[in-house]
Symmetry: C2
DNA sequence: TAGATTGTTAATCGATTAACAATC
DNA sequence: TAGATTGTTAATCGATTAACAATC
């Protein structure tokens, strides 16, 4: 879904009014039916022969995914991963607003990354109480992650986006979206294996 | 799957011999049945009452996923995302060997990131021919990505791991694993929406 | 009219879930 | 024996795919 949106935004900026499933499917190298079903999910009605209005479709996808809400967030961990994420150009468009950036490392505190000053962890609690962000983005090491999560949760953060390599233990009312970077590698490795060993079925004796 | 492996490695280092599905499921906050099915997929036989041998299970998962092969790779783009990825501690364990790191930016060339010196793009073609890596990891901007992909493909790279925000156009024999960072955010936003609006069914009028 | 496209309904397939049997 | 655990089979559910109808 994000990919449709990304593409639609490009088209929108090019001034396109209408777009067809056929075209989107071709761009993304997927089957026509898949694209049509996805678009149908949003509930938007297109006009036959011409396709869907680009601007309407953008809005429809955003409401469907839930990107029409404002999502204030804080990010903990300003290492390489943190800075890469905090600079992602599309996030703002998706409603995600990274308000503050924290790090433990004295060398990083005070630095400005993508327009945001890195703050000391000491200030985390105070700012959480004050600004009450919806989302906490965790980009710290595996060891530190649970501690950070606890702190965020105890100050009212109910949604965590976890990029660390741990399964967090949190109260049941907290929702965690965990990102496993190695997941993509696993898929790729599997594809490589089947591609090179011919058509080996996935399950073997 | 990667998460099982990650956990199993921890257990292995703690010296544990056996582990049960029950325990793994609990750790990962998933249903027992799910874990059991996943483990069953690997084809490994466990002993009733005690569970599975940790070392055997690690090996079984690795062969099942395809992480028992060596996967030499080059990474193009040594920005924040590139350095974060190149420093990922688990990759080596998964068979991925990032041999060389390239960047266009003169300021980055020559720097050492996680033990690898950043090389100029000029040297890319030569090194591709010489070392013939299986995988090309693309961590460059959306604009540059297609060009990099073309270069990699024309020098024999058949598997691409694409972290840029574009759908690449490649010959059909090339396999692309695309990572959409915003994908996780979409899932999280959807969860937030349903959590806050009560039990709204996903499809509406 | 012909063709491109959306819309809808049915069929297939696979994954998830459940229930029970086996056994150390 | 009792209990924890794997193993297996069946049932359910949802997603994917296919086929066709509608229409601008």
């Amino acid at each position: 879904m994000p990919t449709y949106l990304h593409r639609l935004n490009e088209l929108h900026q090019e001034g396109r009014e209408y777009v067809s499933c056929t075209e989107l499917a071709e761009y993304m190298n997927i089957e026509l039916i898949v694209a049509r079903k996805d678009i149908a999910m949003t509930g938007l009605a297109g006009s036959r022969r011409r396709g869907y209005r680009v601007d309407e479709l953008i809005q429809a996808i955003r409401t469907y995914i839930g990107w029409d809400q404002e999502l204030p967030a804080v990010m903990v961990g300003a290492g390489a991963l943190g800075s890469a994420l905090s600079g992602h150009p599309d996030f703002a468009m998706y409603g995600l607003q990274i308000r503050y950036l924290f790090d433990h490392d004295p060398e990083k505190i005070g630095k400005v990354i993508h327009g945001r000053t890195v703050l000391s962890m000491d200030k985390l609690c105070g700012i959480l109480d004050e600004c009450q962000p919806k989302i906490g983005i965790i980009c710290v090491s595996a060891k530190a992650a649970q501690g950070v999560a606890d702190m965020l949760v105890s100050h009212g953060v109910r949604y965590l986006w976890n990029f660390s390599d741990v399964c967090l233990t949190v109260p049941e009312y907290v929702i965690v979206q965990r990102e496993v970077i190695a997941g993509g590698l696993a898929l790729l490795a599997a594809k490589i294996k089947t591609a090179e060993n011919g058509e080996t079925p996935a399950v073997e004796e």
